[in-house]
Amino acid sequence: MVNIAHLIPVFPFLAFWLNIAFGRRLGRGSAYVSVGASLISTVLAILVFMGLKPGGGSYELATWITIHDHPITLGIIVDSLTVMMLLVVTIVGTLIQIYSIGYMGGDIRFSRYFAYISLFMSSMLGLVLADNLLMLYIFWEGVGLCSCLLVAFWYEKPAAAAAGVKAFVTTRIGDTGLLIGILILLATGHSLRFADMGSLPGSEILMAVAALLIFLGAMGKSAQFPLHVWLPDAMEGPTSVSALIHAATMVAAGVYLVARSYVLFAMHPLALQTVAIIGAISAIMAASIACTANDIKKVLAYSTVSQLGLMMLALGAGGFTAGTFHLMTHAFFKALLFLGAGSVIHAVHTQDIRQMGGLIHKMKITGVTFIIGALALAGIMPLSGFWSKDEIFITLWQSGNPLLFGAAVLTSFLTAFYMARVIFLTFLGEPRTETHAHESPAVMTFPLVILAVFAAGLGFIGSPWCHGAFQNFLTGGEEAVHLNYGMIVFSTALSLSGIGLAYLLIVKGFKLPGSDCPCRNWFIRLVENKYYVDELYDVVFVQTFHKICEAMKRFDQLHIDGAVNGVSTIVAFCAQAVKRLQTGLVENYLLMQAGGVLALLLFILGKLCRIF
């Protein structure tokens, strides 16, 4: 059954073309096309999962192209990591598409939306299935494109359009690294297959550089510092898109890439360390920003950056299973959170949490599921987030690097704090503004419920109670996972203290940071302004680029074209001068003639005299 894996991306791809070509005629039907395709993919993914043999395998469909006399094949890899990702993508994707039927219900470009989503699904599934870097790169760009198109889906808003461009360009910068990494591997090892990554013939340093460059690609996609700036802006897109692409799947592709080429990283400590450090910085930085953000989607976006950082941190510290486990659980609860947020926005038509409050009374299902998701994110036992985070803590603790562990702890604490803050401000307390909020339709709440179930329960497959079924599935090993009570207590206490701090600050009247807090100081202002990274980039890169371009345009017109026109001017001038020789006076002509004879005479005699 494994050999049907390549069919998984095909159906969404067909759905894309159907919707693009006949979107207007299909009308609302296009949603069913996409959801249907997605469902088929889900079923196929499950079939593949069922038929998966231990250790997995790969097969080749065709040779795509030959580079340096080595064929790059259209290969499919099917192993546990792939299958995990397949399931996450198809299930979350299907649910979100169902949700979108309600969420995007009134949009004029309804079918176009589903077309893009289908294309995204197809690319994402292809990315997961690719057995070599080049194939992965192709789909990698595909998902990037869909991300861009969907972020800019409401392109009438200038902010959305700009965000779309920013998303694509920023990730593209990372992708350039990936591209160069691929070039290095091609030039030295002649193989891009993940299976061969452990045995590439290149020199140590070159391979480390290649690994780092690949990681650069992952950084762009997973919005890791310093390439994280696009993700918050990407929230301009529809919330369902944020849920699918910018929370659950695409942004996790970076983590997936690192996990997929983990052999390469594992061989080079430098690469692994870099992954960990970047992850740690991103995690803390994004978490701190999330604490001060007031836009519910922005909070979630920064939270995503932070959690992705955490995964990177885990991977970098050697926690292959920890990172991927968190990837999986995060996909579900973060999708849930976004969808919940979408439901809220749908109801109150604002994204500012300061204008919300007490929504749980009006939107019971949304509220409850959102809180489940938030708690899972905050890491409250026994929700899924707890288990994966716990795994990360253990890994970091075992890696013996106190700084990295400290970073994870701090992130975790901040996570609990800002999620609690969101819940207190949004769902609890009293409404701060007049709203006519109401519960969303069933087509939207149904996915919420399903996702909430996953968010709550999925952690168990990786818990000691299941004997670490997930870990063993992933690594193919038979190790049992033991309960580490100390860590459980520690992390629970950590989360609770974060929630407690939020309670103190918000419910008990301490002024929250971000409103008119008297205790504002430079640090809070720094955080509030997202560490001025955007401003810095604007000055250093964007404006410089504009200036360079303008300068080149001017150079082109003034100097290069000036030189060309200058030549013609010179010729024209000379021509004018020569023309003036023809004075019209015959005596001048005669003078020229006689002078010419004389000159020729002197010339030829001079030549002769040298002979004599």
Partner: protein, 468 residues
């Protein structure tokens, strides 16, 4: 003697026709029949040319020679004159009588040119050139009540008189040095050696200057533009092909080719003059607002390319000859087109919108201009190409560069005319009618330009004969 008379049969035909024209003119025959008589004479002369081939190689005790070169050049001269006559028949003469005399002069010019190319004696050459010149002065002055035409005639005369004077002085020195004026004898004397070289060079240079005047090489070209502009179109067209071809034929025969007169040392001067001629010709044409002047300077520049061929060995001689043949047709075509499409002064504006007013003729004109510019696959390109091949073969890279740079510059003004014809609209949209004889001229020239462009063998085979 009969043999010799047989040789000058075409000339005799033309002479008889010329005298007849004078008489008929006096008796008031109209312009058109007169032209037809002249044309007929030329046609008869042309077809009697092959008969002259049977003659021995030297006729009139060595005054004239009967070689392939002279045969072909005589044919070319007849074709050129014939085209000019045809063009004159179709030309709309205003304020001009004396048609009989006009055609008489053309025929005399043809006779003198034919004698020039077959002459092997400097005395004969001098006489023939002088005759050609005198007739040319009168032809240039055809409109004797016209400010331009008379000025052209006088300028031509003043310039020509000095030139022939200088040439004559040179010939006299040659005589003093070598004691003979017969080219074969000169060749023998030179081969024997022992001649005071500076004097020889001096004498040669003075003769060269006289030939260069006919070939309109810089700095002996100053008359060209003024004379062409002042002279009637058919006369200007005739000047641009006939006497010029003669100039080159003489240069080739006396200085660069055949029975060698001062064979060595002329390449340096030729290279220098070629560069100067094409450059000054092109640059002067660059800004011209009158198409007639533009074509005049263009013909100067073309002379530069031909001279470049002469400067480049045997291969170059072939190329130059090829060029002259092609040039005769394409330049004649261009002049004819311009004359029929526009007025006597032919300002550039008068060609506006010609692409719509007379699409066919505008196209033909464009083809001639582009051929002059050297655009493949027209004949003009091949001509330039062969010249370039020859020049590069003798490793005159600077000259080669000058040729190509000049041909780029030249494209500008040729295209300028085409541009005006096609890009700009004219207020006047009246279609233009071209007389039948004009059409014949254009048809001949066009077919030659296309035929020689696609099938250059025609000339190549003749070349093989000449240089056998």
């Amino acid at each position: 003697m009969m043999n010799s008379l047989q040789f000058i049969k075409p000339e005799l035909v033309l002479t008889a026709a010329g005298l007849m024209l004078l008489v008929c003119g006096v008796f008031g025959l109209r312009r058109k029949p007169l032209g037809l008589i002249a044309l007929m004479a030329i046609v008869i002369g042309f077809f009697s040319l092959p008969m002259t081939l049977d003659s021995s190689s030297m006729v009139f005790s060595g005054m004239l020679t009967n070689d392939v070169f002279s045969f072909v050049m005589r044919a070319l001269v007849l074709v050129a004159t014939g085209l000019a006559v045809l063009m004159s028949i179709g030309y709309s003469w205003s304020d001009h009588d004396d048609a009989g005399e006009y055609y008489f002069f053309l025929l005399v010019a043809a006779i003198s040119m034919m004698l020039t190319v077959s002459a092997t004696n400097l005395l004969m050459i001098y006489l023939a050139i002088e005759t050609l010149s005198i007739v040319s002065y009168v032809l240039a002055c055809s409109f004797k009540k016209d400010l331009y035409s008379t000025e052209a005639g006088l300028k031509y005369f003043l310039f020509g008189a000095l030139s022939t004077g200088i040439m004559l002085y040179g010939i006299s020195l040659v005589y003093g040095l070598l004691g003979t004026l017969s080219l074969p004898a000169i060749g023998l004397k030179l081969a024997a050696g022992g001649i005071h070289e500076p004097t020889l060079v001096l004498a040669g240079l003075l003769v060269f200057a006289g030939f260069a005047f006919k070939a309109s090489l810089v700095p002996f070209h100053m008359w060209v533009a003024d004379v062409y502009e002042g002279a009637p179109w058919p006369v200007a067209a005739f000047f641009s092909i006939g006497p010029k071809a003669i100039g080159f034929a003489l240069l080739a025969r006396v200085f660069f080719g055949f029975p060698a007169f001062l064979t060595s040392g002329w390449e340096g001067i030729a290279v220098f003059l070629a560069i100067a001629t094409m450059t000054i010709g092109n640059f002067s044409a660059f800004h011209q607002e009158s198409v007639k002047r533009l074509l005049a300077f263009s013909s100067v520049a073309q002379a530069g390319y031909i001279l470049a061929g002469l400067a480049a060995g045997v291969l170059g001689l072939k190329a130059a000859f090829f060029y002259i043949v092609i040039y005769t047709f394409m330049n004649m075509g261009a002049f004819a087109c311009a004359s029929f499409l526009s007025s006597e002064r032919a300002p550039l504006e008068s060609f506006k919108g010609m692409g719509r007013r007379a699409p066919g003729w505008a196209l033909v004109f464009s083809i001639f201009l582009l051929s002059l510019a050297g655009l493949p696959p027209l004949a003009g390109f091949l001509a330039k190409f062969f010249v370039l091949v020859a020049v590069i073969d003798v490793k005159q890279y600077f000259l080669a560069t000058a040729v190509v740079v000049n041909s780029v510059v030249a494209f500008f003004y040729y295209l300028k005319v085409i541009k005006v014809m096609y890009f700009e609209d004219s207020p006047d949209s009246q279609p233009i009618r071209i007389p039948v004889s004009g059409m014949i001229v254009l048809a001949i020239c066009l077919s030659a330009v296309l035929l020689f462009g696609f099938w250059p063998q025609l000339i190549m085979n003749i070349l093989a004969l000449i240089f056998a």
